[in-house]
Symmetry: C2
Subunit: 333 residues, 2 copies
Amino acid sequence: MFKIRLLVSALSLAGSMSVMAAEALPTTAPAPADNPTTAEKVALGKMLYHDPRLSSSGTVSCASCHNTMLGGEDNRGGSVGVGGQVGGRSAPTVWNAAFNKVQFWDGRAASLEEQAAGPVTNPIEMGMKSWNEVVKRLKSIEGYQQAFEKAFGKDSISKDTATKAIAAYERTLITPNSAFDRYVKGDKSAMTEQQVRGMNKAVELGCTGCHSGPAFNGPGTFQKFPVNKNGYFEAQYGLSDDKGRAEDTGKKEDEHLWKVPTLRNVALTAPYFHNGKVKTLEKAVWLMGKLQLDKDLSDEDVADIVAFLNALTGEFPKQEMPRLPGMPGRTFN
Amino acid sequence: MFKIRLLVSALSLAGSMSVMAAEALPTTAPAPADNPTTAEKVALGKMLYHDPRLSSSGTVSCASCHNTMLGGEDNRGGSVGVGGQVGGRSAPTVWNAAFNKVQFWDGRAASLEEQAAGPVTNPIEMGMKSWNEVVKRLKSIEGYQQAFEKAFGKDSISKDTATKAIAAYERTLITPNSAFDRYVKGDKSAMTEQQVRGMNKAVELGCTGCHSGPAFNGPGTFQKFPVNKNGYFEAQYGLSDDKGRAEDTGKKEDEHLWKVPTLRNVALTAPYFHNGKVKTLEKAVWLMGKLQLDKDLSDEDVADIVAFLNALTGEFPKQEMPRLPGMPGRTFN
């Protein structure tokens, strides 16, 4: 709490407008040195991302749970993988994931590339036995041989290239030009009075202690949640049932640490929190006040902040539907 | 068999080329008088078709089983609906479905409009309790209110308009300009020698008795399958377990009658037949010879016909991905 309070004071001194003004969403995301973005990789990655044949049943693609036609996820508490299995964490949005410092709710992947490798072989998500099996399947599809050749050179199908292509595609999934972005770029009519009020309250209350920067997911990387444990809300939402980062690291000090999620397009990603147990943005904002800031937000505060969060819904780029390469005369298994 | 043999004779007399030459795929499909195709309906229909929120779980859209990024289906035997339930019939392709005289494997829907209403409330497919529930959900999404208004006028969300929009979109899913189409329009280099040989064999053997016309699904509507019941293949593939049209009508004379499926893009729609039990096109062609024509096709005949069937894979129109309207701050249930 100390850190948050300090930051709020700093922000208050600096004046909320000017602090916010520096933070419009970039329109491109930097790529790692070993995976520069190319049009061929993006085209291939888009195919792989939308291909349900990357799952054991042939029914679940990356897009099934991280839907690029919607807010980049599935509007469900737990996502549904192969065989109708339901996961324990709510799918984070793929939109602007390029601006996350780490990936997954518990931050266990350091990059989009690393993240992309996970769900494919997760038994309750896409359920492939191994990446060897994935690579074998992809190699058997002539159109993929060609698309990988264009992106990475001859005979290049591998876990490494497939996940690089998916990451390259994901780096293009950016939603600039929200009402907030237009506002901070000088169009003072872009946000309503209520949205401006909500923005100022978000700064004053301390929300921006964790949720600032272009994607409203920094300056830090991890944050404890809930900070203020509350038996009543635990019984209702079970927010502490999952130990977060500690489930991956096994370390006591990582218990209940979570990657700070972006607030970009947050209005489109109900239900909320890592377990998706909170159905509305109003309730989520109110609970954040209670559990993180130890504050009882009034209905008016909540409404103002929700109005502001709606100003973070960006413009979704037009995308051509990928054509997935066929397997003439046969099926995927 | 009598009818088929007669037709083969007629076709042989007429000369296979000239008979085939009349049958290139049209590039537009006629719409019924009460549902003229408009750009607004198509745009709305495309959204609805790809929206998983039309299912109880929010995970299954029309496109889940009739994938427009692939061959218009899911390359599975039985499709997977809500809760991981697996259906008993293999999803037919949506590509060129506009040229089917009836819809569903058993032809129980007379139009695309009627078909579109079915899966949404089928408990093992999309699992909505009722169309009232669907309409209620759509009405709660502002973006749909607007899209329906553009397509059908103010306050127009209903089962009738939703299914009309989906059908209007489906009428645009046409794949012209296959190698076969280019061949019959005069480009004699469009098909290989083997494909031409396969085409002539398909006519001579009698395949075109049931599979002719622009979509290779007529002139009739229904056909018995299998014609020649065979205990050995029954044990392997169970093709007679499902009584087809009779399951809908309850009539003895409809037993094992099936809609004659299009052969357009058939190379992309493995596995084959109503129950999807036959995995490869080679095996499917050979079995059709055996079960429908009482003929033992040689490996060469099968290879030639399969080569020809590959010439029926058309050009898939480029499509922009639909943006599905959001539900700011809340989820679909």
